[in-house]
Symmetry: C2
Subunit: 197 residues, 2 copies
DNA sequence: GTCTATATTCTGATAGAC
DNA sequence: GTCTATCAGAATATAGAC
């Protein structure tokens, strides 16, 4: 606003995003309950009281991070229903691995901090997760109907595939022995075989 | 012994195990950092100070629970190396599902609270987990060598299979539509197909 | 072995100055 | 929008009586 320089605080105009980033990293590293508002403020470079200009409370901060993640996940998963079931399944497998690899902290929080949500917030996040799982389940059901594969129970296969794919985040590192696309290739081969395609 | 009745406290002679049980349930439900020593004591029926007759601190309580779980897991996994690879793999799949189903709280803690361990304790638990993973990896390598299946990378397949199997705990309930043995059957079929057996 | 009492530190959140 | 100061309560862990 053309005024003189301020003496303290961040005043950078991007405190909001910085709070979200700091909270994401700290919650992922130490867990929601183990992180204090003062720690988050310290990471951002402001005092604890300043956080409350951006979030009504700590719970809302957690919920917003999880909701954003799940919403982005659903938005990024394109639904090209015109494709063949086998192509749709392959697309899902490669997408899931790549998307989750790009945001390990958000993935970690979305799976680990569900029990720290209020019942209302928990229900909202679980609904979003259910929508995502349904996208895969619908692909598996379509492939059953078309005879593209032989999987017995689409519901079980949905859980199995998602657990298997999400597990990549626990061990895969870009700097390691394998490239992301090699990992995608091998998981796609395993998923394809597992459903009998 | 033989004295008059006491006025307060549990004095049941099994306070130690009760503390472990209460801590296991509370840590699984709310998370290690979110549970106080007072809550654990209240669940047991003693005052908080009494807990320190059984554990030097909260961290040791968590570590003991995780170490016990991993040790029992390794001990329960029999290694009948005489069997064929395909039989060994099937045995592993059915064992993993059944064992984890019987102790969901311990499994949950062993996966979720790793970040709340001190570096020294973390290394010890990770070593035990590595031993367990190696048991599966050795089976997969043996099957590669004998031509029992065609899986490309035994390391990746190990991670994929364990993640898939552990995921059962997130959705399977005994009271539901499927029995445990039906679930074991379907997961075994998926694993067998996934490795190309 | 458990109790009560306490030390010390930290917690989430708020009020009011600037 | 951020600061400082503060409230009210809860945390882990310990000391000493019984």
């Amino acid at each position: 606003m053309g005024s003189m320089a301020r003496t303290t605080g961040s005043h950078s105009g991007i405190t909001g995003p910085k709070i979200r980033t700091a909270a994401l990293e700290l919650f992922a590293k130490h867990g929601f309950a183990a992180v204090s508002m003062r720690q988050i403020a310290s990471e951002v470079g402001v005092q604890a009281g300043a956080l409350y200009n951006y979030t009504p409370d700590k719970q809302s901060l957690l919920f917003d991070l999880m909701q954003s993640h799940m919403t982005e996940l659903l938005a990024a998963l394109s639904d090209e229903d015109a494709a063949q079931p086998l192509e749709m399944l392959e697309q899902f497998v490669r997408f899931h691995i790549a998307f989750h690899h790009e945001r390990p902290e958000a993935v970690f929080i979305a799976y680990m901090e569900l029990r720290n949500l209020t019942p209302e917030n928990f229900a909202l996040i679980e609904d979003l997760r259910g929508q995502y799982e349904n996208r895969l389940q619908n692909i598996l059901i379509a492939g059953q109907a078309s005879g593209a594969w032989t999987v017995k129970d689409a519901k079980i296969a949905t859980f199995a595939v998602i657990a298997m794919l999400t597990g990549v985040n626990t061990w895969f590192r870009s700097e390691g022995r394998l490239s992301l696309s090699e990992v995608q290739d091998q998981y796609w081969q395993m998923v394809r075989s597992a459903v009998g395609g």
